[in-house]
């Protein structure tokens, strides 16, 4: 699967309150949540500016704070094709694989990419191509178990296969 889009850069410790503020948690409707994606971040008008396929590129500890699955749901439904970060907070990491938001850890990519760069990501190999800067980076390999989850189609599908 090839993911392609413009890079939107964010700093370190982007927390779940920034990704989807609690005032919107009175719904679990993905479409409603997506409208407010990144609303309390440094780019509050993210949803006005981004295009389907665009990629969030962030520093360390992306998705820290709450366990709210609403965060990766909002990002995925907003049309963000994937998130590249130096590191991910552990509950967000787990949630993303559970519900099928592709995420990649790549410090080199984060250090080099500028907002606006056009990126192409090969989800299987984790190779990130910076089309604008004509460079490539290699993300940390996705652990085999997480690949199994993705291959099954997410955690619930994996569970169904197991209990079948």
């Amino acid at each position: 699967m090839k993911l392609k889009g413009k890079a939107w850069k964010f700093g370190a410790d982007i927390d779940t309150d920034a990704i989807i503020p609690a005032r919107y948690l009175n719904t679990s409707d993905p479409v409603e949540l997506a409208k407010h994606c990144m609303e309390d971040s440094k780019t509050p008008d993210f949803m006005k500016k981004m295009k389907k396929g665009d990629i969030i590129v962030a520093d360390k500890n992306f998705g820290c704070g709450s366990s709210r699955e609403h965060a990766p749901i909002a990002i995925k439904t907003a049309g963000v094709s994937c998130v590249i970060a130096k590191t991910f907070a552990r509950i967000f990491y787990r949630n993303s694989f559970n519900m099928g938001l592709p995420i990649f850890e790549c410090a080199a990519a984060v250090a080099d990419i500028t907002e606006g760069d056009v990126l192409e990501v090969d989800a299987e190999s984790g190779v990130i191509k910076n089309v604008t800067k004509k460079k490539t980076y290699k993300a940390n390999p996705i652990p085999p178990f997480m690949q199994e989850l993705i291959g099954a189609g997410g955690l619930m599908e994996w569970v169904k296969k197991k209990v079948a």
Partner: protein
């Protein structure tokens, strides 16, 4: 090596000699996946004792449960649903979410569904009711599920989908975390409590200093600490990125669980020679009350450095510091004083039992006489839900656990985290300060 007074309570489970000594976290996980030993990095499938969710996270779990075609839950006694975030419901959408929980609980005859008027803030309620016990594996669709580590359980926050899967299978996969050991030595200064120690620790290692790791809290100060302080410390392990926080059970744990625990508790402790990826020691005698400044829990300063910060609101409550011990401290500070005319103070007992106890002890008289507002149990303002939202430019001091941008309301409001004594003193002073500054 002696970490403190010899624990007189036993027996402890799984103390036979192993090829490899294990930490308490490793032992609990090994016991729940039927293995003699586990090592950090290993992937396991663990049986879960308790599965928890609340009014904002359970709706997604329930949807996933139904979408998977599941017909019944793995054990109707072990799934706990607590509507605590936006309750008593603050708007129609929140009411619809709570309704989903209610209907699911009825459909599956869940023993542990807590309606408004019976509920409390989940992480205060579950230990109080003895629903979680030492030696448990507990997962919750709420990041502060790590609170129960104070009882010597493995407890961690997960997402709604993980909870949905566990509701069906009674199991969850884990990667065994490495453990970090924190040793707290010396004596606590006046007004310094578990909240200050955990804030100090997060300030030391950073909001991802314990990423994916178990935080094991030990030392003479922990040995002497009451359960309320221990619950506060374990509660904020997630704010350092920790997978779980944990305190080995001892006489204090036994005394807390006697007459309360709904199931048999199992006591584990770390072996001498167990491996830790990091060991740190703190001399608590040097620590003054801590305040985490906007907008990260790691942005800590001593309270004495913040006298210039005026506040608009003070909140005492939350799963972190909403217990009777916390309310007593707030009352002790407030007694005979009035909340500053420019400040709103909101006090939220964390459960109905605590509410009643506080009323009985005359604490509500002190609070109301001081011109503070007293609320029914709810998470309320902690996550910017209701019961004390901040306007643009406003500042609140709070005994809560997070202060990210917009946490308690407007993105241009600010939250300072502290212990109850500091929150109460600051309410009177109209600025951040200590009880020793009150006349």
């Amino acid at each position: 090596m002696n970490d403190g007074p010899t624990r007189r309570y036993g027996p402890y489970e799984n103390t036979e000699k192993h090829i490899m000594p294990m930490t308490i976290t490793e032992k609990i996980l090994a016991a729940h996946c039927g293995k003699k030993e586990v090592t950090p990095g290993e992937l396991i499938n663990a049986k879960v004792d308790i599965v928890l969710a609340n009014d904002i996270t359970a709706p997604i779990s329930i949807k996933e449960f139904r979408k998977a075609g599941a017909k019944k839950v793995f054990d109707k006694k072990r799934i706990v649903l607590v509507p605590d975030h936006f309750t008593p419901n603050k708007d129609i959408n929140s009411a619809e979410q709570s309704k989903l929980l209610r209907e699911f609980a009825r459909e599956h005859k869940l023993t542990n569904y807590f309606e408004v008027g019976r509920m409390g803030i989940e992480h205060a309620l579950l230990p109080e009711q003895g629903i979680v016990v030492s030696g448990d594996v507990v997962i919750g669709a709420d990041s502060h599920t790590c609170t129960y580590g104070a009882l010597g359980a493995f407890a961690t926050g997960v997402g709604s989908t993980d909870v949905a899967a566990a509701m069906i299978t009674g199991e969850i996969w884990f990667k065994v975390p490495e453990s970090m050991k924190f040793i707290y030595k010396g004596r606590l200064k006046k007004w310094v409590s578990g909240k200050d120690l955990i804030l100090y620790t997060i300030g030391d290692i950073g909001v991802d200093g314990a990423l994916y790791r178990a935080m094991e809290f030990t030392g003479e100060v922990i040995d002497k600490m009451n359960m309320s302080g221990r619950l506060t410390m374990a509660n904020m392990a997630i704010e350092a990125g920790g997978k779980n926080g944990i305190i080995a059970p001892d006489d204090t744990t036994k005394a807390y669980e006697d007459g309360r625990a709904q199931r048999k508790a199992k006591f584990y402790k770390s072996d001498k020679g167990a491996s830790y990826v990091d060991v740190r020691e703190y001399d608590c005698s040097k620590i003054e009350p801590q305040v985490a400044c906007p907008h990260l829990p790691e942005n800590t300063k001593g309270v004495s450095e913040l006298a210039h910060v005026k506040i608009d609101q003070s909140v005492v409550g939350s799963c972190t510091n909403g217990r009777i011990e916390d309310l007593r401290i707030a009352a002790k500070v407030l007694k005979g004083h009035k909340v500053h005319p420019d400040v709103r103070m909101i006090i939220i007992p964390a459960t109905q039992a605590i509410y009643k106890q506080a009323m009985k002890e005359g604490l509500f008289d002190i609070f109301v006489d001081a011109q503070a507002a007293v609320s029914t149990p709810t998470c309320g303002p902690c996550l910017g839900g209701h019961m004390g939202i901040l306007a643009k430019g406003e500042k609140s001091i709070a005994t809560t656990n997070r202060n990210f941008v917009g946490r308690m309301g407007h993105p241009e409001s600010e939250v300072y985290l502290s212990n109850p004594a500091i929150a109460a003193a600051s309410a009177v002073l109209g600025r951040i300060g200590s009880p020793d500054e009150l006349k």
